[in-house]
């Protein structure tokens, strides 16, 4: 069986094959022998070369959260659009769009259409979970359009401001 996952936009292909004892994973030239036992839907005991690891995994909308060695790695199943935006650490949208990672209320838009802005300049203040967060410009450029007003509720990923990046 072959699987493909995305980590921060990079695709990784991985094959699972039977091995002498248990299984092996094949990633390009690397082979990783392992033997596993499923403890529950979300919990696995895996032996990597005799090293015993508890691995916890959960999935939602094509996003896999893998907890191993005290760290969570989020892997997205390749070929799936619309991976759950709010669930993970997505970056701001395109470089010419300003959006928020959290649902929230727009407290104040600090710029107007046609304004020249600089990288990291605060453009919008959004309140989420009782905290004010500054949304900064991802680039030097000019404000092309503004799509919300003060007091509006905004969802993650919705463009609040469209920019024309400076060259």
């Amino acid at each position: 069986m072959e699987y493909e996952f995305l980590l921060n936009g990079t695709a990784y292909s991985i094959k699972l094959e039977k091995a002498k004892s248990g299984h092996k994973a094949v990633l390009g030239k690397i082979e990783i022998p392992f033997a596993s036992s499923q403890i529950s839907d979300n919990e696995y005991s895996i032996m990597f070369d005799g090293e015993s690891k508890s691995v916890y995994i959960a999935e939602t909308n094509g996003a896999l959260f893998v907890h191993i060695n005290g760290r969570v790695i989020r892997l997205d199943k390749a070929g799936l659009e619309n991976n759950n935006f709010a669930a993970g650490g997505d970056v701001f949208g395109a470089k010419d769009e300003v959006s928020t990672l959290m649902p929230g209320k727009i407290v104040k838009i600090l710029v107007g259409e046609g304004d020249k802005v600089t990288l990291n300049q605060t453009l919008v203040i959004v309140e989420s979970m009782k905290m004010e967060n500054k949304i900064v410009s991802p680039t030097d450029g000019e404000i092309k359009s503004i799509h919300f007003s003060d007091g509006d509720l905004v969802e993650p990923g919705q463009p609040i401001i469209i920019l024309i990046p400076a060259d």
Binding site: A58, L101, V107
Partner: protein, 499 residues
Amino acid sequence: MFKKILIANRGEIAVRVMKACRELGIKSVAVYSTIDRTALHVQSADEAVCIGEAPPSESYLNIDSIIETAKKTGADAIHPGYGFLAENHLFAERCEKEGIVFIGPTSRSMKLVGDKVASRAVTENVGIPLIPGMKHKSTDPDECLTAAKKIGYPVLLKASAGGGGKGMHVARNKEELKEAIESGMREAKSAFGDPSVYLEKYIEKPRHVEFQVLADNHGDAVHLFERECSIQRRHQKIVEESPSVALDDDLRRRMGETALKVVEVSGYTNAGTVEFLLDENKKFYFLEVNARLQVEHPVTELVVGIDLVHAQIRIAAGEKLWLKQEQLSQRGHAIECRIYAEDPENNFLPSAGKILYMKEPTGPGIRHDCGVYSGSEVSVYYDPILSKLIAYAPTREICCQRMAAALANFPILGIKTDIEFLKDTVNHPEFIAGNTFTNFIEKNMSDWPPETKIDHLNRALTSAALFSSLPKTRISSSDGKSSIPSPWESLGAWEIAGG
């Protein structure tokens, strides 16, 4: 003693108070908002009443609705937890008027200590050391700018009514202060309903050290030693410990005496916390009194051996203080880490969503005060604290290791949390060395997270592929055979509901 206590809060603290009620043979009443129907605190109470819609102003801050619920359910006392109405003197006053015991200080002393400016005036009179600052609160930006010039930059802007870092900003010059005033007043208005702010000198590289106090209604008080809470982000604590490595016996005694003096002059009763800043030269400044049970109260409980919620309830019920200062001592070391739904890689931005899976850490010396479970929805409406992990050990060194190990075995999947960040914090050589100053994160954690090691990634990918290849809700191992035989297969025919 009370028969029934209403807990005017949610999350881990509501659950923690309910447990204390049960231990004391007192019935508990949960209140909840419409989106909290399946929240853990609702499941943990003896009774539960929906008090309004999701926005806090309509539910957990809705005084009328909470009072009405207390009357309807026959609760004779209300525990406010922390946050929400815990330090709202109007709520305490309303309880007093309605003949319901408010488990906390009187509205009068709460009003005094809650007003940072009024409390400064009272404490300054009796010679308690204070940080230079404005004499009164203000809503006038020009007045603040003039005051800042006199105090000298950098200055710290705070919400007059606030706590928890909300509305708090550091300004290093006039331009930064202008921006901070605007933002701080808005946050203060939104979080506390009062836009007033005040300014004080910002002390660089301090430690945050606070003293837990207990005062009964009969004029007696003790302190339960210190907690150091220097590890903060957004001016909000995330790691707390007791004892503090910065205190020796003499300093501890002097700070404890000062804390009790603050309690005395403000007529404070019940459990409270006297906060200090300790500078590099071991000079301490009184900051404020937190008129509530603190988030970090468990570290004191473990080190001093006193259940603070029990103590709060007994004092509120009118008991005389059963503790003498000279009987109290600190034993061992405790560290608490606050587990927040937030993204440390993204300026600690709160992270809402569903907890797909979680497993609570256990083991010797591990306590987990938790308000969520696998399947919980973390809402955008409330403070993103999920739980608190507390480690206790004979020494600080073992305590750090115990905490790090527990954090490493604490999966919460589906939302972002600060667990990995906390693990790397308590594992940091500077933390282990006790070099804990309030700029710790800025100074030591700015290059976090560490890069993902290729071996680690490969193992994660292997696990993800394995997960994707297996059918769910079936126990099996990688050789394809079922590792735990189902009783239906192994035991032959079962007789269902036979006889």
